[in-house]
């Protein structure tokens, strides 16, 4: 679900960056209020744990395996705001240092995995706990369903973003992403339930401390519920009328106006070579070869000097 750069249009990337920045800023403030000085060490070490925990997998059948993504588990154990910070750290490090997901697309990846994943998890777990009660089985089933739904909804968001960017038609992207992640979600759900079973036996207080309070976090409850309902309703509609999303995009000035107007800022410039695409390509090719050649020539010359100097030193 880590979208690389180049797959999202600039307007979609920027809007999702802005939303993510606002949510992260609020999360940083709230966590600082809750945890104080402890914030940095606790969030940092747990982000490392989620990152490493994604290595844990179990074989399903044949070569396929289920593995953990962790948004639901983090939300259930840490509470929503801390989970946002932890998941944002994980996704950012994956993008910056391991090239898993793009840099301009990082806003969207944070939005899908750290914000939607966490908000929807929080909403679902709260909702299910009311129905399933506080028994061990109830908690485990709630954990499973929460993890599955959070993955599923986040993948719908990812597919809709691709469709909005004109990268993948909605009638294909949405069912394909939904189907793949419906399966991945089962693995996530099973591991999450397994982890909850372990923690119920060893540290029951951890689970109760973060999900027991019912008064606060109303905005996340409402937000998570809205996201889940809107995406679940919107996706089938969008995938059955693939032009619908593009229509929405154009209406809102996402695709059409934003990009066309930018391109229209520059009217037909008369510039020798550039207005003829094939000639421009040839010129660019020649310039490119010259750049690379001169750089490698310069490097080769400067490198020749180094061993000589070292010999003298010996």
């Amino acid at each position: 679900m880590h979208i690389p750069d180049g797959f999202l249009s600039v307007p979609v990337s920027i809007v999702l960056w802005l939303i993510s920045i606002v949510v992260i800023a609020k999360a940083l403030k709230n966590v600082r209020f809750e945890l104080g000085d402890k914030q940095v060490p606790l969030m940092g070490v747990l982000a490392a744990a989620i990152f490493a925990g994604q290595m844990l997998n179990f074989s399903v059948t044949g070569g396929t395996s289920g593995h953990l993504l962790g948004a639901a588990l983090a939300t259930i154990l840490l509470g929503p705001w801390s989970a946002v910070i932890v998941m944002t750290s994980v996704v950012s490090v994956q993008a910056l240092l391991f090239q898993d997901g793009g840099i301009l697309a990082l806003g969207a990846n944070i939005f899908n995995m750290a914000i939607i994943g966490v908000f929807v998890s929080f909403f679902m777990f709260r909702l299910l706990k009311n129905f399933a009660g506080k028994s061990r089985e109830g908690l485990l089933i709630s954990g499973f369903v929460t993890a599955w739904i959070s993955i599923f909804i986040a993948s719908l968001a990812c597919a809709i973003q691709l469709a909005l960017s004109g990268t993948s038609p909605a009638n294909i992207a949405i069912p394909a992403m939904a189907a793949i992640h419906a399966l991945i979600g089962i693995g996530e759900g099973l591991i999450t339930a397994g982890a909850l079973a372990f923690l119920l036996a060893t540290r029951k207080d951890l689970i109760e401390s973060t999900t027991g309070k019912s008064s606060n976090h109303t905005e996340i409850l409402v937000g998570g519920g809205l996201i889940a309902v809107v995406l679940a309703v919107m996706s089938p509609i969008a995938s059955s009328n693939p032009d619908g999303l593009e229509w929405v995009a154009e209406q809102q000035g996402f695709l059409g106006t934003a990009q066309d107007s930018l391109y229209n800022i520059m009217p037909d410039y008369v510039m020798p070579g550039i207005n003829d695409p094939s000639l421009a390509t040839i010129i660019a090719g020649i310039i490119g070869v010259l750049i690379v050649f001169s750089v490698s020539f310069g490097i080769a010359r400067s490198e020749k000097k180094v061993p000589v100097r070292e010999e003298v030193r010996d």
Partner: protein
């Protein structure tokens, strides 16, 4: 999972981190703005990337191998070829199979793949030539929220330790659930295996929470008062300013060419 920083000496490694961060961000944004089919601009951008790879001593194969990691996502754009806008050409493959291919869709697919491939290489060059501490120092100096940067620094500090712990958990599981090599079936049902893995995840979480408490206590003992101590950055001097201005001018110029020549 390997640390991507490659400690070789090169002019690119010695550049100030902020210069490299700005360069990478500006170029990736410029690439994203480029319309599809702007071949001259793609060639110019790639010749800059190629020059950077050569002058940073990273080695072509290193960068290209890492860039491959991002390719699976290309599948998401493949439907564009078939379901792209008109005109659609019915192309015959192997006598029987006829596939509709939209020319505009194919062009767009190719452009998305190339643009994404170039962006990944830029990100690889940044991470492979900048030490983690310098990279974070650069982000901090660029006024990214300090508390978030500190969290990521601490995460990095403990990441490799916890990854080792995870590998130990996995090794312990493999040595206890008997598997005969070649026979992929390991003991128990899928639910049992998931439960074991879940137990591992839970215990990893628990150990990490406990570890973070020890880390916090150690930080307090060393005089931590809520504000992490920041490293001093290299000065952002005249040369850095010139490089930054050059970055913006060159990327702007190539973007201009892209918009004139693209579809």
């Amino acid at each position: 999972l390997l640390e991507i920083y490659k400690p070789v000496s090169s002019p690119i490694h010695q550049l100030e981190a902020r210069v490299k961060i700005i360069f990478t961000l500006v170029f990736i944004i410029a690439i994203s703005f480029m319309p599809s089919g702007a071949w001259p601009a793609y060639i110019l951008i790639y010749s800059i990337i190629l020059s950077l790879i050569i002058s940073s001593n990273l080695g072509m194969s290193f960068v290209l191998k890492r860039a491959l990691l991002a390719t699976p996502f290309v599948f998401a754009a493949i439907p564009l070829i078939i379901y792209g806008p008109e005109p659609v050409v019915q192309t015959r493959i192997f006598e029987f199979i006829v596939i509709p291919i939209s020319e505009t869709g194919f062009l767009r697919f190719l452009s998305i793949a190339i643009k994404s491939w170039m962006s990944v290489q830029l990100a690889i060059i940044l991470a492979a030539t900048t030490h983690f501490a310098d990279l974070m120092g650069g982000f901090r100096a660029l006024k990214f929220p300090a508390i978030f940067i500190s969290t990521i620094e601490l995460m990095w500090r403990y990441l490799f330790l916890i990854i080792e712990e995870t590998s130990r958990l996995i090794r312990a599981r493999s040595s206890r659930s008997t598997t005969i090599s070649g026979n992929r079936k390991s003991g128990g049902s899928v639910f049992w295996r998931a439960q074991v893995t879940g137990g591992m995840a839970g215990s990893l979480f628990l150990r990490s929470i406990e570890r973070s408490e020890r880390v916090y206590a150690a930080m307090l003992a060393r005089g931590y008062n809520g504000t992490p101590i920041e490293r001093e950055n290299q000065a952002f001097g005249k040369e850095e300013w010139w490089l930054t201005i050059a970055t913006i001018l060159i990327s702007g110029f190539i973007l201009f060419i892209a918009i004139l020549t693209g579809v």
